[in-house]
């Protein structure tokens, strides 16, 4: 490892640490002023940045990336603008506990190629709101648009009085530099959004991390669902930005009883069911045989491009390719995550078999992420939800737009979705500014009378029966 890189890493982190020192002195009003200025600057450039990201990455649709940029600016801002993130944030006279918000320190944020500008603005806003300096590492495939996003946000932040170096971006494509910063002892937290290897690297760094990796979202369409509505909803989600959101649907599971109806509805709504031969051709271009992970060349591409690449002919205007599969796992490559308008399709003899398939899909690389059910049976909705290992179970909702919050539910708007311990996260929440704070608690003395009125010597007597102790302990005196 060259000395230059080590020095560069140290310099970047030291700059961030100095910014952290200055930032902690800011009050709520000054902090909010900066956040608003950055939101306005990012929002103003939402179209330009969306077009830049689409042109640079060749992924998705710029119109949809505008929506993502709106989520990453306006909707995030609206959700955090009234939050208290400085000083006393709550005071409860009943419990005697006062909560104080403290910043974490320098945050290292890794940005995915699939949502580069929106995720950059989102992470910058939640870091600034929590008075944490941010160091951004852009994917090399989206470096230009990320640099421009950072420039716009940083200039607005400085203009509003933010500390120097509160937002930095490191040169992309330098793995050594990324690893050095990730593992730097002065980094307070890593916000890693990206592929499995990146998330693993974040967790191996020795620093606290919130890493969001792949999902493999199963969608169960129950017999009680409105099929036409369900299919329309799935299509609107899976075609959103050509399927680049990691919470997008990956497999549809139905029971034999409604299989024909569902297929007919998908076909009616411009989707195409691949033949077994065509499935093989799509598998070859969509999934890397060795790593069993999706091929970057199909990520965020429209059906026409994918079909042409695979050498198959599909009806013009086809929105989604569906692959009827007989199994789940490495022998069925399309049962894994593909961030493109390709969906696996399964049918099961009965409800239990269908739910078991969803469990298998959920555990095949998407543990802790998201799952979905279309149903009007409350009992089944609850049962299904309890069986999934997913931070979010979306009900009768498009998962791309549902999991990120705001549009279809009251989840916090976010472009970093906590995946719980299944995804090696400490939380299943949608990450937002409040997750980037150390909450200190001032605890007033409020002695527990029950404890202090009890004869504690009874605990020392091994012969005391547990039920007698409990009865005595809770007895009113």
């Amino acid at each position: 490892m060259s000395e230059n890189i080590v020095n560069t890493a140290s310099e970047i982190v030291e700059n961030a640490q100095l910014a952290a020192a200055e930032f902690h002195q800011y009050n709520q009003e000054k902090t909010d002023h900066i956040v608003e200025a950055v939101f306005r600057a990012g929002f103003k450039n939402r179209v330009k940045l969306a077009k830049m990201a689409q042109e640079e990455t060749g992924m998705g649709l710029w119109e949809h990336k505008v929506i993502k940029n709106v989520l990453g600016t306006q909707l995030i801002y609206e959700s955090i603008k009234n939050e208290k993130t400085v000083g006393v944030i709550s005071s409860d006279t009943r419990t005697g506990i006062i909560e104080i918000a403290q910043p974490l320190g320098p945050i290292f944020a890794v940005i995915p190629v699939t949502n580069p500008t929106s995720t950059t603005m989102f992470k910058i806003l939640i870091c600034l709101k929590s008075r944490n300096p941010i160091i951004i590492s852009a994917h090399r495939g989206a470096a230009k648009s990320c640099i421009e996003t950072v420039r716009i946000c940083y200039e607005a932040a400085l203009e509003a009085g933010a500390p120097e170096d509160c937002i930095q971006i490191i040169p992309s494509g330098n793995r050594e530099l990324t690893q050095l910063i990730m593992a730097h002892p002065k980094i307070a937290l890593i916000l890693a959004t990206g592929g499995t290897n990146l998330v693993k690297a974040a967790y191996s760094s020795g620093n606290p991390a919130i890493g969001v990796g792949p999902g493999n979202v199963p969608v169960f369409i129950d017999e009680s669902a409105d099929i036409q509505f369900a299919v329309k909803s799935i299509i609107s989600s899976k075609t959103f930005d050509n399927g680049t959101i990691c919470a997008s649907e990956q497999a549809v599971v139905v029971m034999h009883s409604i299989k024909k109806q569902v297929i007919k509805e998908f076909e009616k709504q411009q989707c195409y069911f691949l033949t077994p031969e065509e499935i093989k051709k799509i598998e070859k271009i969509a999934i890397d045989e060795k790593s069993m992970s999706m091929s970057p060349s199909v990520v965020g591409q429209p059906v026409a491009f994918i079909a042409q690449k695979a050498g198959i002919t599909v009806p013009e205007g086809t929105l989604i390719l569906l692959a009827q599969l007989n199994g789940i796992g490495k022998d069925f490559p399309l049962s894994t995550e593909v961030l493109a308008p390709i969906l696996a399709f399964y049918s099961a003899v009965d409800y239990n078999t269908a739910v078991n398939m969803c469990i298998d899909l959920n555990y095949l690389g998407g543990i802790g992420h998201s799952a979905c059910i279309y149903s009007n049976d409350e009992k089944r909705i609850l049962e299904y939800s309890e069986l999934m290992n997913a931070g979010r179970v979306l009900v009768n909702t498009p998962t791309s737009q549902g999991a990120v919050g705001y549009f279809f539910n009251n989840l916090a708007p976010s472009l970093t979705l906590g995946c719980g311990t299944g995804g090696k996260n400490i939380t299943t929440e949608n990450i937002t500014a409040k997750n980037l704070l150390n909450i200190q608690r001032i605890c007033r003395r409020m002695p527990n009378e029950m404890w202090f009125s009890y004869d504690l010597s009874k605990y020392l007597d091994e012969s005391q029966d547990i039920d007698i102790i409990l009865k005595d302990y809770y007895k009113n005196h």
Binding site: E14, Q17, L18, A20, A21, E22, H24, Q25, P163
Partner: protein, 103 residues
């Protein structure tokens, strides 16, 4: 903003700062410090003390001035005294409190 006290007998220069040491203040201070601390060619043989007893805010650029002054003064020849607790914590967060000998 800053008053210098030169004790030539003991070879100690004390710089007593007052108010907010924000980015603009730091810009102005940089030159004054170089002139008044008898730093020539990046070196000095005087012991330098920054008294921050009446400082209630420090920008990162002011911390940078402290670091560069400490480097020029040499090991054990620079210290920061009388910090208010809030400013002491700021130096702790910067991770430079030991290098700057903050008491």
């Amino acid at each position: 903003m800053v008053i210098f006290n030169n004790n030539t007998e003991e070879k100690i220069i004390t710089a007593k700062f007052t108010g907010r040491m924000d980015t603009i203040a730091a810009l102005k201070l940089n030159e004054m410090i170089q002139d008044n601390l008898q730093i020539k060619d990046g070196k000095t043989d005087m012991k330098i003390i920054f008294d921050l007893g009446e400082v209630d805010y420090i920008a990162s650029s002011f911390i940078r001035i402290c670091v560069s002054t400490a480097k020029q003064a040499g090991a054990g020849m620079f210290s920061i005294v009388n910090c208010q607790p809030f400013i002491k914590k700021t130096f702790k967060i910067s991770g430079l409190d030991s290098i700057l000998n903050v008491s």
